[in-house]
Symmetry: C2
Subunit: 301 residues, 2 copies
Amino acid sequence: MTTPIRSLEEVATKARGKKIKLSVAGGNAPTVIEAIGKAVREEVVEAILVGDKEGIIELAKEHSIDPHSFEIIDEQDVTKVPAKAVDLIRNGEAQMLMKGMVNSADYMRAILNKKAGLFSPGEVLTHVTVCEVPTYPKLMIVSDVAVLIEPDLSEKIKMLEYCIQVANALGIENPKTAIISCVEKPSYKIDSTIDGVLLKKLAAREQLKGAIIDGPLAMDLAISKRSAEEKNYHSEVAGDADILIFPNITAANVFFKTLTNLAHGRIAALVVGASVPCILTSRADTEESKFMSIALGALLV
Amino acid sequence: MTTPIRSLEEVATKARGKKIKLSVAGGNAPTVIEAIGKAVREEVVEAILVGDKEGIIELAKEHSIDPHSFEIIDEQDVTKVPAKAVDLIRNGEAQMLMKGMVNSADYMRAILNKKAGLFSPGEVLTHVTVCEVPTYPKLMIVSDVAVLIEPDLSEKIKMLEYCIQVANALGIENPKTAIISCVEKPSYKIDSTIDGVLLKKLAAREQLKGAIIDGPLAMDLAISKRSAEEKNYHSEVAGDADILIFPNITAANVFFKTLTNLAHGRIAALVVGASVPCILTSRADTEESKFMSIALGALLV
């Protein structure tokens, strides 16, 4: 049995030497090129940067990165960059996609394109964030902070499946999974409690496999053993969750932004559900977070 | 101009000597009696405990609290306790209500009772939490983590009004207010962004007064100056919010539970919208948090 990975540092360590082929849509973004430079140096990836070639070379030099350490495909028209980067995946020349200096909507559209994208019917494009915080003894695998707005039950099942894949890639077998709501008592007035009941039942009937599921759970019952004890709530998941499935995008988004801004948390994140892991970074993400996302993606290829 | 209160400790200091009359529904709850004992010693309140008299006396002695330091009204029937505690408010014998060892639903029902409750038509019963966390330089006033499930725009306006009242009681004039969503760009797909736009416009047209409002804002833009700078987002509220209005109960609940369980946060909380401040504590709240809620309530009477 593999020892579970318990920190982002271990994610980076495990990803070293993988040399995954990474296609980058718009290489000329400062923190992106720094993160890629580091990922290339540590042999996590071999990178192909699509975009304004001269701009990329200049930016690389500014950040003391050797522009010869990656391949550059020149494309001056920024609206054509995402499709060209996606083509590299479709042609088998790359195994992972990353967003650089292109519009997020254009990037997502290129992934979702029915004819020339990376998306198969039956899949659900969603988002997985791996969070590390000094006050929790292990990683938390969280969905969905960025893509699905109000996921329904079938989408939550896909979110869960992708989270289990990430957990397995981190060496966590049968991840303890909390279906988050604001209370542990089911109420017909609170939809997320009903989804918690249903997902737990699907797991009990073995329609959902590969995880130990409990729900609905309020956040404190999911991640605080003290709270679980004081509320006299006992389950395998309570106070010890590996995976947190959130009821809606605002709750999930508030969670990871509270962690990173007020609790010294760090994250790695991926868009999942496409044929390859896709990295969708935000302007406010640190270079370190972008590097960690590349490393996490490399473990999923 | 008053200096704004920036910590819960200052809330407690300001509440000392107020001697507010507190009516407690079900005095025989361990952490509740400890919190009340402290609030009486510090002259924040004079307490009237309704419930099983012998049980209350015994529990007080167990916690080294002099049972003569408060009045006890004997009521053996636990289902009658909330209404009896509410009666003390209606008769003018008490100015603030607190939940002890009674069922939360019974407690809320007694407050909401049309004939014998504390609730006027036109008001909205909602919940305000004051949060303190070492990583933020001031208090955050948050609504609604516990009562309104999916507040609509009119309910959000009332939430905002009560939060402004709390801010003013803390010496904060014109509190900086963030209407929280997951993005700062309005999208018709995300209801909470639309409410952000509307509330900001209501303030601009002076239909809402007493606060500087910005929205929609994602959490990081509301409370992180670094994030606001990196996203090149400038407003009086960005990175410096006093009040956070959340789109739904799960997002708000996740926020305060992440703060208290993973970010060394502490809270005080009140049910507002009734004729007097009401304290609704959870089993998992610490004795300190219950005491701080009493102190906060005392500032609002």
